[in-house]
């Protein structure tokens, strides 16, 4: 009966992100959501717990106000949440998030399997999962699209460019999953209303060892822009010759 812990990130919903006048990202209208692939991670944790008994819980790092995310996550089936929060946890980089998760888990939080989404909807750095496994000293399997669990042995199907890799591993293990693994359930009304009554264990910065200062400095985050030249060429031999030359000059063709 495995204890399954699932990590999620509470991110700005890209549907509401606007491009500011200076090309910067305007998040003032943004609603927040559970990062897309993390919904697959939660679903897989709940499915495994339903099939094999055991428990499914979620853990996240965020700001103290991010409580709606906790309810959202709990409405999807896990029975408990661990909420690592502090007003200082703004724009953490993956190494810092992984350190906080590892410290809280070592406190200890029981686990046999940890499941993360392959990457987050905002930055998609794909680092928190592998870094967390490294800190905990457990194996990490990425790009997992199918899981079979037999007692203390887990078989993971990993998606790769070459095909499918089927790996057998003993618990404990950390998995990062791709969206093909399942279709996350839509919480019913009662699940949503019950979520607020489930237990939440909080950790603040004071409860955990201090994290390293950020190694990365973000100088700017800009909206992607597409520049078009919009040049018209005549539809005659000279025009075509000109077009070909232009494409060669720009490096579009060799």
């Amino acid at each position: 009966m495995p204890d399954i812990l699932c990590c999620y990130k509470w991110v700005a919903d890209e549907a509401y992100i606007r491009s500011g006048s200076g090309g910067d990202l305007d998040l003032s209208m943004a609603d927040y959501k559970i990062s897309d692939y993390d919904k697959n991670a939660i679903e897989e944790a709940v499915l495994l717990a339903e099939q094999h008994g055991g428990t499914a819980a979620v853990i996240t790092v965020g700001l103290p106000d991010d409580t709606k995310g906790i309810k959202d996550a709990l409405s999807r089936g896990p029975e408990k949440a661990y909420f690592i929060n502090d007003p200082a946890f703004v724009d953490l980089e993956p190494a810092q998030t992984a350190s906080l998760l590892a410290a809280a888990i070592a406190s200890p939080i029981p686990y046999d399997i940890i499941i993360c989404g392959e990457g987050s909807s905002d930055l998609y750095a794909q680092q928190v999962g592998p870094r967390l496994a490294e800190k905990l000293g457990i194996p990490c399997l990425c790009y997992v699209q199918k899981v079979e669990l037999n007692g203390s042995e887990l078989i993971a199907h990993r998606k790769s460019d070459e095909g499918l890799e089927v790996v057998k591993v003993s618990l404990p293990v950390l998995l990062t999953v791709v969206p093909d693994i399942n279709n996350p359930r839509l919480p019913g009304l009662r699940d949503t209303l019950a979520a607020g009554k489930k237990p939440v264990v909080e950790f603040t910065a004071e409860d955990l060892p201090s994290i390293d200062t950020a190694a990365l400095a973000t100088t700017a985050t800009k909206a992607a822009t597409i520049k078009r030249n919009s040049r018209l060429f005549d539809a005659d031999a000279a025009g075509i010759e000109e077009l070909v030359q232009e494409l060669k000059n720009s490096g579009a063709i060799a």
Partner: protein
Amino acid sequence: MDFKLTEEQELVKQNMREFAQKYVDPIAAEIDESGRFPAEVVAKLGEMGYMGMPYPVQYGGAGTDYLTYALAVEELSKSCAATGFTMSVHTSLALGPINNFGSEEQKKKFLPPLCQGKHLGAFALTEPGAGTDVSAATTTAVLDGDEYVLNGTKTFTSNGPVADTFVTFAWTDKSAGSKGMSAFIVPKDASGLRVGEHFMKMGIRASQTSEIIFKDCRIPKANLLGGEGSGMKIAMNCFDHGRIGIAAQAVGIAQAAMEESIAYAKERVQFGKPISKQQAVQWWIADMATDIDCARFLYMRAAWLKDQGLPFTKEASMAKVFGAEMCMKHSIKAVQIHGGYGYIKGQKVERLMRDAKITEIYEGTSEAQRMVIANNMLR
């Protein structure tokens, strides 16, 4: 003063949006065209807990406040006004009177399957000669031993052809005036109940509407709701809270019309630039956004008052008349923004404009709402 929804309310709104995108958007145009009742979606709404939202958990409801329910109606109606209305008329007008006026036995018997969406409810009040003037009804109920015998014809009964449980109204003592009307719960298999003509409607075409004919229809005496003579009171109470649902439905339709208009105006190029750069279009969008917010705040206030146990009749009528009229106005404007394309079947705004009209008519016309508001202001 706090304009913030609770986290639960935001999540319910978000989940209903996702539900509607997944199950309703893909079929909304088809069920409008064919007039097919989306039984599969209604069953799914029941499974997900949305068919008895504001009623106690002990009777199978979800136990939410009325505001949360209205928010869900808005979100669902944004995808399909007919499906939103099916949920709203079932919840407000069929379950409402049973919950508010039913005996413990009646609640235990009728509410659980209705709240779970296993049964669908309908509200049969209107008659061919009795619309806004409820007292012009002619249906009668006569006590015969342990049974009431109902005779009369109801019309424009929403959910009529697909309902399992009807709440209906009949005179038990015509001479007693407004205190002579009574309300009854009638199961669809009651002897003497027949579904009459099905109506083909201009809008909300997937919502099913028909005549309901009672010919020597016999129901147990135990199905009398709230005691003899309380029919008029029950009907008016139903309308008060039902109107909040219709106001929310109207806001959903208008919100959809605005979102379609914004998307189209940014894409449609005329005179070398998107029409969203034309001031005329900008002002229409500004007016839409402003009116939609007004209407939304009006229905939210009415729902909030109801949830606080405060009087809300006038406020529900204000929300309904303003919401319905702004919905009609802006759904017409949305078609105008789409130009010729907006007049073509398959464009969502074409459907929205037809759907909008009914919000000015049912559950009390705009004129009836003004009567209610004026009565409150001038007394």
